[in-house]
């Protein structure tokens, strides 16, 4: 079965789309199929961005009226399947809203969903790859039943590259009546300001874990990150403990990062964490325990106390500035 039609959910963000959305568009157009993007709150800038990255059509669900996107967007996609026919595949970014859309759509279409996809290959159908056990093994899978297959794809599985295409033609794709399911409404939005580059985009990521000993010591992570013009990350353990907000979390349930260098400070290397950072170009680890699993994947390891090494590193970096 050659692929002829692919739909990609593209999440609007600051006048364009989230990076993961652009990654999916880029990968989608590599199959030589017709690519359509599905978004909400569409406008000329979004049509241009969708076209630039390879979509010929932009289905616009329209203004969501403050509703969480999961229900209305899934409802709109289900309506499209009914009106124009099912595509071969529906690709959705693995994000908070992307997962909502995928779950809702799966139940509406009565089609299964493959999540945590990190590669998608056309071998006459679509074969997927999924990391398991902290990325130490890779599961290869595929759908066996009737389409469309719903694929939820992790950030940074592919590179985002402009294809130089012209603006996509916009087609309205209303959600229709969603009844009681659409009752979740955003009453207010809070943005937690962070300085410096975004965690997912920074060339340098400095992350802290339990080995810091106490919440106050996270300041060492932030200062080191700042001196390296990088972003500060965290293990799930210290996010759960309330030391830092969830938006700092790197790992399976947090963000996936692939910086030039990842500096893991006082992080033992739980599989949960490794899957979010093992794609980094270089990994530096500082940990008291010489047998910590993080050292098995670190290019450069220091067996020592982060509370001694980091202040010294900060001083050394300041001396160079």
């Amino acid at each position: 079965m050659a692929l002829s039609n692919i739909w990609i959910v593209t999440e609007p963000s600051n006048g364009s789309y989230t990076t993961t959305s652009l990654e999916l568009l880029t990968h989608g157009r590599s199959f030589g199929a017709t690519v359509s993007a599905i978004t909400w709150g569409g406008n000329a800038a979004l049509a241009a961005a969708a076209g630039e990255y390879g979509a010929t059509t932009l289905y616009d669900v329209g203004d969501l009226g403050g509703a969480l996107p999961g229900v209305p967007v899934a409802s709109a996609i289900a309506a499209l399947v009914a009106s124009v026919g099912a595509p071969d595949a529906i690709l959705i970014p693995n994000s908070y809203d992307g997962r909502d859309i995928a779950g809702r759509l799966s139940a509406r279409l009565d089609r299964p969903v493959l999540t945590n996809v990190t590669d998608l290959v056309d071998d006459g159908g679509l074969a997927t790859e999924h990391p398991i056990f902290g990325g130490s093994q890779t599961v290869k899978a595929r759908f066996t039943g009737e389409g469309p297959g719903i694929y939820v794809i992790r950030a940074k599985s592919f590179a985002a590259e402009s294809g130089g295409g012209t603006a996509a033609s916009v087609v309205a794709a209303p959600s229709g009546d969603v009844g009681a399911t659409g009752g979740a409404i955003i009453a207010a939005t809070h943005v937690e300001e962070r300085v410096g580059p975004k965690l997912e985009e920074a060339a340098v990521v400095v992350s802290g874990g339990r080995g810091l000993g106490e919440a106050e010591k996270y300041a060492l992570i932030e200062e080191t990150a700042k001196l390296l013009n990088g972003a500060a990350g965290a293990s799930r353990a210290i996010v759960d403990a309330g030391w830092v907000p969830y938006s700092h979390q790197v790992g399976q349930t947090g963000k996936t990062v692939k910086p030039t260098v990842y500096i893991a400070c006082g992080i033992s290397g739980a599989t949960q964490h490794m899957v979010g950072m093992k794609g980094s170009k270089n990994i530096v680890a500082i940990n008291k325990d010489p047998d910590a699993p993080i050292f098995q994947i670190a290019d450069f390891g220091i067996v020592g106390d982060v509370n001694k090494v980091l202040p010294a590193l900060i001083a050394a970096l300041k001396a160079r500035a």
Partner: protein
């Protein structure tokens, strides 16, 4: 305020994990209550407490050969547990699981359904929202706080850049992140009380879902499992006061400095 919490008994994540010959997770060892689910149980107990009326029911799917995890939830304070346990369920996917749990939850007609954002073993992360869709409920995922105000649930929902205040009318489904509340440890009294609390075991036949579950219902197949390209350990030094200096040297060598 009656609350259902979806919970899962999983192999201890601290122990080595493996897949069996059919590429299903090996669950032959001891099973524990997924830690991610303890937050939902605790949240539910606190919300029922605050409402002053109602009870917490935990629902689950999986082997009932070992129910220590469910007893743990009962010991924390849940009133009863229901588990759907059937050999025919082996190989069921997320949507099939959602159908099974939705069928059980429907019998309870709760005001609120709580679940973790994802399990710590399969981490598909779609089952709760699939349940909400099957039950026709609104859902709010990734809650970092949950409060009930009359017939409305108010949630602080995690976003990429901070959080949103989101509301939904009850009944609704909410998924909670770890850290939404601090789960209590079961007291001795709680553990003793849990032994006599109702724990109902249902089969697939009790729910009339036979063709939608198991590997046939999953409509997806694992074609292969391979060892991922592994990174190898590089240089490692014991810090003798020169650790920072060595790191600077490494950062220079990769041209970050």
């Amino acid at each position: 305020m009656n609350i259902v919490v979806c919970v899962k008994q999983i192999p201890d994540p601290a122990a080595p994990q493996s897949l069996d010959a059919s590429h299903n997770l090996n669950r032959s060892g001891k099973l524990i209550l997924d830690e991610a689910d303890t937050y939902g149980v605790e949240m539910a107990l606190q919300l029922v407490d605050k409402a002053g009326t109602g009870e917490v029911t935990v629902v689950s799917m999986g082997s009932a050969a070992d129910v220590a995890g469910l007893r743990n939830a009962l010991a924390m304070g849940a009133a009863k547990a229901v588990i759907v346990s059937d050999d025919a369920l082996r190989g069921t996917d997320a949507l099939g699981t959602a159908k099974v749990l939705a069928a059980v939850i429907k019998r309870e007609s709760p005001d609120l359904v709580l679940a973790a954002t994802e399990s710590s073993d399969g981490y598909t992360g779609t089952t709760p929202v699939q349940i909400a869709e099957l039950l026709g409920l609104p859902s709010i995922t990734f809650a970092k706080s949950v409060a009930i105000d009359g017939t409305t649930v108010k949630v602080e929902r995690q976003t990429e850049s901070g959080f949103d205040e989101v509301t939904a009318p009850l009944p609704a489904l909410v998924t909670v992140t770890a850290g939404v509340v601090e789960p209590r440890y079961a007291s001795f009294k709680g553990i003793m009380a849990a032994k006599s609390k109702p724990l109902e075991v249902l089969s697939v036949a009790d729910l009339s879902l036979a063709d939608q579950i198991g590997p046939t219902g999953a409509r997806q197949v694992i074609t292969d499992v391979v060892t991922a390209e592994s990174r190898s350990a590089g240089e490692k030094y014991i810090d003798e006061g020169d650790g920072a200096e060595r790191i600077v040297g490494f950062l220079e060598s990769i041209k970050v400095l």
